[in-house]
C-alpha cells in the first residue's frame, strides 16, 4: 500500500520534472532536469522492486546511479568548453 503511494508520488514528480526539461529556457535547466530524472529513476527502481517483491533490482539502481553522475558531468563539460576532450593549458589556480 505505501509502496504504491511512493511509486505514484515518484511518477508525479517525474512528470513535473519532464515539464521543466521541455520548457527550460537555458540548457542548464535541461541538464538539471535530466539529472533529477535519473535520481528519481533510481528511487523508482528501488520502490517498485519492493512493491513487486523483487528487491534484486537494486543492483540496476546502483549502476544507474553511477551512470547518472558521469553523464551529467560529460554533458556539462561539453556545454562549458564546447569540446569533450578539453584539457586546460595550465592547471587552474586554487
Amino acid at each position: 500500500m505505501m509502496f504504491l503511494m511512493a511509486t505514484i508520488a515518484i511518477l508525479i514528480a517525474m512528470a513535473l520534472v519532464v515539464v521543466r526539461a521541455i520548457r527550460g529556457p537555458t540548457v542548464f535547466d535541461r541538464v538539471l532536469a535530466g539529472n533529477v530524472i535519473g535520481t528519481l529513476a533510481i528511487l523508482l527502481l528501488a520502490v517498485v522492486g519492493f512493491l513487486l517483491g523483487r528487491p534484486e533490482w537494486l543492483d540496476i539502481a546502483l549502476t544507474y546511479g553511477l551512470l547518472n553522475l558521469i553523464s551529467t558531468l560529460a554533458v556539462l563539460k561539453f556545454f562549458r568548453h564546447g569540446d569533450l576532450a578539453f584539457v586546460p593549458k595550465e592547471p587552474p589556480k586554487l
Binding site: 538539471l32 539529472n35 533529477v36
Partner: protein, 118 residues
C-alpha cells in the same frame, strides 16, 4: 510483536515523508524562477526525499543484503548529488547565466548581460 509494529510504523512514516518531499522538490523545479533556485529545489529531492525513502525501505528489509545495497545507494546520493549540483552551477556561471536578484547590489559591469536578455 510491538517492536515489529513500531518498526513498521516508523518505515511507513519515513516513506510518507520521502514521497511528500519528492513531490515538493519537483513542484519547486517547475515553479522556481531561476537555474540556481531550481538547483536548490532539486537538492531537496536528492537529500530529504531520497534519504527518507531509502531509510524507510531499509527498515522494511531488515538485516539482509538488500539493506546493504540500499545503504550503498544512499552513500552514492550523499557523494554524487553535491558534485552534480556544483558542476551545474559552475557551468552556468561560466556561461554567464547570472542569478536573478531582487536588487542588483554588485557594481555595474559594462559588458554584463541581464538574465532576461538571453
Amino acid at each position: 510483536m510491538t517492536m515489529e509494529m513500531v518498526i513498521f510504523g516508523l518505515s511507513w512514516l519515513l516513506i510518507g515523508i520521502g514521497s511528500v518531499f519528492v513531490v515538493i522538490g519537483a513542484v519547486g523545479i517547475v515553479r522556481m524562477p531561476d537555474v540556481f533556485t531550481r538547483l536548490h529545489a532539486a537538492s531537496l529531492i536528492e537529500t530529504l526525499g531520497g534519504g527518507a525513502l531509502l531509510l524507510g525501505l531499509m527498515l522494511q528489509a531488515g538485516f539482509t543484503l538488500v539493506t546493504l545495497k540500499l545503504a550503498m545507494i544512499l552513500l552514492l546520493f550523499v557523494f554524487t548529488a553535491p558534485v552534480a549540483t556544483h558542476a551545474v552551477a559552475q557551468a552556468a556561471l561560466h556561461q554567464e547565466v547570472m542569478p536573478k536578484l531582487a536588487s542588483d547590489r554588485r557594481p555595474h559591469q559594462a559588458g554584463g548581460k541581464s538574465p532576461e536578455a538571453r
